[in-house]
């Protein structure tokens, strides 16, 4: 029982809150940008400065870590991976898919077969030149029954990876997926020299790892041959594993580190007033649903669900639980920054009268509705439930807040109790988010909401290459979840990092904190 517990927790909340979205125009890979700088930073005003030593205090380090990128789970792992390695595609700071080791790509009409053209003249740290062979070998590490890769879930849909000449790779999928380039931005899917040692940390990345002390520090020196212009600016980068937020804050204030991953929401207001410190805040896709089981009475009645949805004062919850570091949710899991976010869908507001109306229609007579919660779901889950209890009381709804034990919450409460507080880390694409939690047959369909028409549109949207049609389909899906589904989603969280203000070009990413975990290659020191 404990093994499922820890695994779920890891995937669902622990390590890396991920989310993402895409811009379709760039997704089709119109080829490498002509900008002299790297495409993602084309808008930057200043010229990057070279030199200096960067020290980043970061969470998620453990003594048991290795440099093997396959089982990576935490922020430290992801940032380490992006220090020494690259993917085929980079998740751009504007949400676009930016060519990285692949300089362009072309899907077939059904989005099932993709050709990726590999950048020429790129060398690994050991001097070997990158070829299609290396790409095929590296991607195949994530396929098959026994792979320990964290990307294995996506990669099961890949049926074949083969080289097409020395600098092109053909990837075949079992069904069409217009989001493939986004999936290849995953920090597990690093390209390594064929047949290399997985724990060697040899890649094409901006920093060569010269010292590695698991759970303590990762030290890298600049790769002079890095292929991206304007990237990899500091002479050395050091990641320090500092799991305690107070210790990270003190280290930043005393200058022992220049960048702090995950500022403490409780003190970030104070920290922002400290001289010489800048707060970097990016909207994220992690969200905090109150889950109603649509297969269990009384939640099987759509009016009952709607009544409860209207009874939440979302702004109040964002304000008090997230201390304003987040956005209100609209009862569907797609964040407002996503290009597929349904812009025309009206934001659901706190409306006790409408709540009363729907509850009455559902035959509700004022009896107590148990809501299971625990801070195991997320820090602040109990407060969220209690706040919601107050909001609902004004609509004549009695919520009975039940504090469940933290231990075993994901086994005994999540997907078991009819009404519970939960957490979802964002997913890199809208398709993944909807598939993993709302498709009828999804293993983690935690609202037990089953709509064959939803599933059908979801599959069609995945393979649709026309952006306008796709956007309309996703808007329809979001509307279905919002008005019929079992998730009351009051809020989305932000990624909040802090840095000394001499650290420039901290490009925010909607995908992860720490400039998309790519701060080491993106930032430079003010000269």
């Amino acid at each position: 029982m404990s093994r499922f517990d820890s695994y779920d927790r890891l995937l669902r909340q622990g390590a890396l809150d991920r989310r993402g979205f895409g811009r379709l125009a760039a997704m089709l890979g119109a080829g490498a940008s002509l900008s002299t700088l790297w495409p993602g930073m084309a808008g930057a005003q200043e010229e990057p400065k070279k030199g200096g030593d960067l020290a980043i205090g970061i969470t998620g380090g453990a003594t048991t870590d290795t440099l093997n990128p396959l089982p990576s789970t935490s922020s430290l792992h992801a940032a380490t991976n992006f220090m020494w390695g690259n993917c085929l595609v980079e998740y751009g700071s504007d949400g676009s898919a930016v060519p990285e080791l692949a300089e362009s790509w072309e899907p077939s009409a059904d989005a099932k077969t993709w050709k990726f053209n590999i950048r020429k003249g790129v060398t690994f740290h050991d001097g070997k030149e990158l070829t299609a062979e290396d790409v095929v070998w590296s991607l195949n590490l994530h396929r098959g029954e026994n792979t320990e890769s964290g990307a294995a879930g996506y990669m099961t849909s890949v049926t074949d990876v083969k080289a097409d000449g020395s600098h092109a790779v053909i990837i075949t999928l079992d069904s069409g997926n217009a989001d493939l380039p986004y999936l290849l931005t995953d920090y597990h899917l690093l390209i390594m020299p064929k047949d290399s040692e997985l724990t060697a940390g040899i890649g094409t990345g901006p920093y060569k790892i010269t010292e590695y002390d698991p759970g303590v520090r990762v030290f890298g020196e600049l790769n002079e041959n890095y292929f991206k212009p304007g990237r990899g600016n500091y002479a050395t980068v050091e990641l320090l594993a500092i799991n305690d937020p107070a210790a990270r804050t003190a280290a930043l204030q005393t200058g022992q580190i220049n960048v702090m991953e995950r500022a403490d929401p409780k003190t970030v207001e104070l920290l922002s007033r400290a001289p010489g410190i800048a707060i970097h805040r990016a909207a994220g896709g992690g969200h905090y649903p109150l889950l109603m089981r649509c297969d269990t009475a009384p939640f099987d009645n759509v009016d009952f669900r709607l009544g409860l949805k209207y009874a939440a004062d979302r702004a109040d919850i964002v304000d008090k639980v997230l201390r304003g570091l987040g956005k209100v949710g609209n009862d569907h899991p797609i964040p407002s920054g996503d290009p597929f976010f349904a812009k025309n869908l009206e934001q659901r507001a706190y409306d006790p009268d409408k709540a009363k109306f729907h509850m009455k229609k559902a035959g509700y007579g004022g009896e107590a509705i148990p809501l299971s919660t625990s801070d195991a779901a997320f820090s602040g889950a109990v407060d969220t439930a209690v706040l919601y209890q107050q909001h609902a009381a004004k609509a004549g709804i009695t919520i009975d807040v039940i504090r469940e034990p933290s231990d075993g919450y994901w086994n005994d409460v999540w997907m078991k109790k009819p009404f519970s507080v939960s957490y979802w880390g964002g997913r890199p694409t809208a398709d993944l988010m909807l598939t993993v939690a709302y498709k009828s047959d999804a293993a983690w369909n935690d609202t037990f909401w089953r709509r064959p028409d939803f599933d059908k549109i979801l599959l069609e949207a995945r393979a649709e290459l026309d952006p306008a049609k796709r956007t309309a389909m996703y808007a329809e899906l979001q509307g279905m979840i919002r008005d019929d589904g079992g998730a009351l989603i009051p809020m989305f969280n932000d990624f909040v990092d802090a840095a000394v203000d001499t650290v420039k070009n901290f490009e925010l990413s909607p995908q992860y904190g720490l400039a998309g975990m790519r701060a080491p290659e993106r930032v430079w020191m003010e000269g």
Binding site: S6, Y7, T63, A152, G215, A247
Partner: protein, 318 residues
């Protein structure tokens, strides 16, 4: 004298027997972890093939006694096997951590033990006077606060406000002894504050008790100088209890400082063991447990021996 040697020999033997018993308990404890060990290690991603492979690798099919013997005979020659999570030999993972922990513990002990004993003696001498009351109040206050709170206070005052010492204790491999001491100043000070109170109060109590004994009164009546009373008559008789409480605190400095390690980001044994448990890295857990057991048993043995040496009645048992 042969008596004494035999006594100490007996203590050593008991110590070794205790360690053996602990090694059995550690082994059984890790056996008792819920679920099949191989499945626990692999987590939800476990496929039957992978489970079988791990079972074969760990020889889980063999009887427990045989596996225990294999493990124990390795431990006897200092071979703890390889870490399951990282594949590295456990001794290379463990030794730098142990060194770091011992360095911090030794530094804290060098400050705390003499300080506590001196304060305890003076408090006993000047019983119920201002000095005694002030020391009591101050040390009690220090042990009443959780160690991470003391740590944060020290960081706030000495690192953030005054900038005298670093907030996190990074020791670069090339640092010299002075730089290392500077780096661990705040955690060492935290541990000093946490442990001094206990040792000081026990010292005071032990000395006070001895000072109220009739033979001290006799010595005073005879006109023996104060200094001689304390150091010749009182202290040797108080050494037994003092040694015991000192040892208890030394053991704490080695095995119980995980919170201080976290606050100061100090790479010691505590963090290592917590990581090992959360990753179900069984050989690493076993190795940490054995090292901690050796520390406890060894230090307690030392306390016993010191008590025996200091106490003629124990030195010459009838």
């Amino acid at each position: 004298m042969p008596d004494l040697v035999r006594l100490i020999g007996k203590r050593l033997l008991f110590g070794l027997l205790t360690l053996f018993a602990v090694s059995v308990l550690v082994f059984i404890g890790t056996e008792l972890l819920p679920g099949d060990l191989a499945e626990v290690i692999l987590g939800q991603t476990a496929t039957p093939e992978a489970v079988a492979a791990i079972r074969a690798k760990l020889n889980l099919g063999d009887p427990a006694v045989l596996r225990y013997w294999r493990w124990f005979s390795g431990v006897l020659v200092g071979d703890f096997g390889n870490s399951l999570a990282s594949g590295r030999p456990i001794t290379t993972v463990l030794l730098p951590r142990l060194q770091a922990t011992l360095f911090l513990a030794a530094t804290a002990a060098v400050i705390a033990v003499p300080l506590a004993i001196a304060l305890g003696l003076l408090s006993a001498l000047w019983r119920d006077r201002t000095f005694d009351k002030t020391t009591s109040a101050a040390t009690l206050a220090a042990i009443s606060m959780p160690e991470f709170f003391i740590g944060y206070l020290l960081v706030y005052v000495f690192a953030v406000q005054l900038g005298w010492f670093p907030a996190i204790s990074r020791i670069s491999p090339s640092a010299n002894f002075g730089q290392k001491l500077w780096a661990i100043a705040l955690p060492a000070l935290t541990l000093t504050l946490v442990t001094t109170g206990h040792m000081m109060r026990m010292t005071r109590a032990a000395v006070v008790q001895v000072l109220s004994a009739p033979y001290i009164e006799m010595a005073e009546l005879k006109g023996t100088p104060r200094r001689a009373i304390i150091f010749r008559h009182a202290l040797p008789n108080a050494i037994g209890p003092i040694a015991n409480v000192v040892v208890l605190n030394l053991a704490f400095l080695v095995v119980g400082v995980i919170l201080v390690e976290v606050v100061f980001v100090y790479p010691g044994m505590g963090q290592l063991m917590v990581d090992a448990v959360s990753k179900r890295d069984i050989p690493l857990i076993q190795a940490c447990a054995i090292v901690f057991a050796i520390t406890y048993v060894g230090l307690n043995m030392l306390a016993d021996i010191v008590s025996i040496l200091a106490n003629p009645r124990l030195r010459h048992p009838r």
